[in-house]
């Protein structure tokens, strides 16, 4: 069983929901990323989503755009991000790590090279915002061969037939984008999320994670009532942005622990 599948299996037996925090690799500085990843786990993360900085993050709101810009000041590229994952794995072999990013850094590295380097770094999954299934069949096959779960997005605008088609292709879990908008937006409609996630779960043989616009423990708890996992991104990046670099790990750990407590209530 993959690391992602076994995390969800364990949580299920415990009656708990997965907490998936997001940080951008290299934010606020490259040497802070691995300590931040350990802090996320210490705070109660079940899976880590690691953002790959990109110059043109079309699906991201201002907070994650700024995180990308901070990381890019240090020239952090996909090779560096995979090196961070490998360094994290020296200490932690249990917590799955999923990359979230855009197609072009992967295109520039090449699919074969990416898959082999990612697998040897100990990466578990990859979510590429601008690789819909239509454009990524060959890449997905290479990921599967390398033991990487390809995580697909579903959106409020995804029709039912397409939900079915995508969940058939998906591995690990499917990621439901909880609102029409960019990361960090504030127009989350819980009733709408509940209805759509219900429809997805009825079709998917996989766990369903929900992200975009979840900013506090209470919202996380309500979303977790209908989903298998909650993803929190911009709010954590904001915590990093507002902390001095030395305090970031501690503050992030405290914030994640608060969300964890709300989820486990």
């Amino acid at each position: 069983m993959s690391r992602i599948a076994s995390v969800f299996a364990t949580l299920k037996t415990q009656g708990r929901k997965a907490l998936i925090p997001f940080i951008t690799a290299g934010d606020p500085a490259p040497d802070k990323t691995v300590p931040l990843m350990h802090a996320l786990v210490a705070g109660g993360a079940d899976i880590i989503e690691l953002g790959v900085p990109f110059s043109d993050p079309m699906a991201d709101g201002p907070t994650i755009q700024r995180a990308s810009e901070r990381a890019l000041k240090y020239g952090v590229g996909l090779h560096d991000v995979l090196a961070m994952v490998a360094e994290f794995r020296l200490i932690n072999t249990a917590t799955p790590v999923v990359l979230m990013g855009y197609a072009n850094p992967i295109e520039a590295m090449g699919w074969d090279r990416f898959c082999s380097e990612a697998a040897s770094a100990g990466l578990d999954g990859v979510l590429t915002v601008d690789y819909p299934p239509e454009e990524s069949a060959e890449f997905a096959a290479k990921c599967a061969a390398a033991g990487l779960d390809n995580i697909y997005l579903l959106a409020p605008t995804t029709p039912d037939a397409r939900i079915e088609a995508i969940t058939r292709l998906a591995h690990g879990f499917v990621y439901y984008v909880s609102l029409k908008g960019v990361t960090g937006a504030a127009n989350l409609d819980l009733a709408e999320v509940a209805a759509k996630v219900g429809a997805i779960r009825a079709r998917a043989g996989l766990p369903v994670g929900v992200g975009f616009g979840i900013r506090d423990g209470e919202t996380a708890r309500l979303v977790a009532n209908v989903a298998d996992a909650v993803v929190i991104g911009s709010r954590i990046v904001q915590e990093i942005e507002n902390s001095s670099p030395d305090k970031a790990a501690e503050n992030v750990q405290n914030f994640v622990a608060g969300v964890r407590a709300a989820l486990d209530k």
């Binding site: 110059s55 997005l153 029409k180």
Partner: protein, 399 residues
Amino acid sequence: MQMYDLPDIHGHFGPYGGVYVAETLMAALDELKREYEAARHDPDFQEEFRHELRHYVGRPSPIYHARRWSKLLGGAQIYLKREDLNHTGAHKINNTIGQALLARRMGKKRVIAETGAGQHGVASATVAARYGMECVVYMGSEDIKRQSPNVYRMKLLGATVVGVESGSKTLKDALNEAMRDWVTNVESTFYILGTAAGPHPYPMLVRDFQSIIGEESKVQMAEMLGRQPDAVIACVGGGSNAIGIFYPYIPVEGVRLIGVEAGGRGIASGQHAAPLSAGTPGVLHGFRSYLMQDANGQIIETHSVSAGLDYPGVGPEHSWLKDAGRAEYVSINDDEALTAFHNLCRYEGIIPALESSHALAHAAKIAPTMDKDKILLVNLSGRGDKDINTVARLSGIEI
């Protein structure tokens, strides 16, 4: 080359093009694809489009023999396709009319657009006023500074202009921001994309709407000279005016197609906007094409004196035409473009857009190497009124 039937149903031109967007936009692009397919075969739609081009835009635009300038250059005869004479002063309006008619057909009351030089922004604001739609235009703050007359023009037309402060604060960042708006307001909003780029079906529909330029040219050249030009030359930003004049010429043998990219401070300097001349294939803004990028796949900041060419990518059909060898792509530096700008002003009494000046400069470069009976057809994609502040500043003059 035989006429081809591309893009395929997935929006691919060989390895280029496609639909590389976040899931939230997939349904909207599917809807647009269906609606465009219907409109394409709907005689009423085509009839209204042609009617608007004739009575609102003022088409057909004339072809003019730049006799004095040609004589001075001492070689091939240069003919200009006068897109600068269109309503709003550039080719951009051909496309915005087509897309606004689609928006109306789809019941969308709000349109958004990105703009670099401001020409597409003005053309979008214009059609929004014409058809009674709300219009929001995204524009890099750097471009707002260098194209201020167009910013005011858009406001006069009732559009809201939103300055974009992220990244390089130019066209690519305006496109990012327009995409972010679209993803947020996807059900109420039609995105009027300004060039033959972006996710399928945009490159195709923009090409089709702009092809009126080449269709008219073929008829006009035959009428004027009884023959077609030896080469057709157009500037390439995202590639809409170029594909518009190239496309109908693709099956016409003996006609060279030459796209001119912005060489900025010179290709060797790295400060340019010439992905076909000096880039590599990658994925940006929803499609695969040649891009300016570094080894990590990050998009490189571009430079051009002309805001409308200051873009790190290029429409996918141009990438395909380059690889297929049907079109050639060259670059012209800032200073060469400026020289051509001044020469057209002085010798022909026409103030060209800085974008179009790149195409003019390339014509001026090759004309003297050709016989006097050879013919170059240059797409004069826009007029240069918007650029007079930039040109004055570069000449050390405050106006």
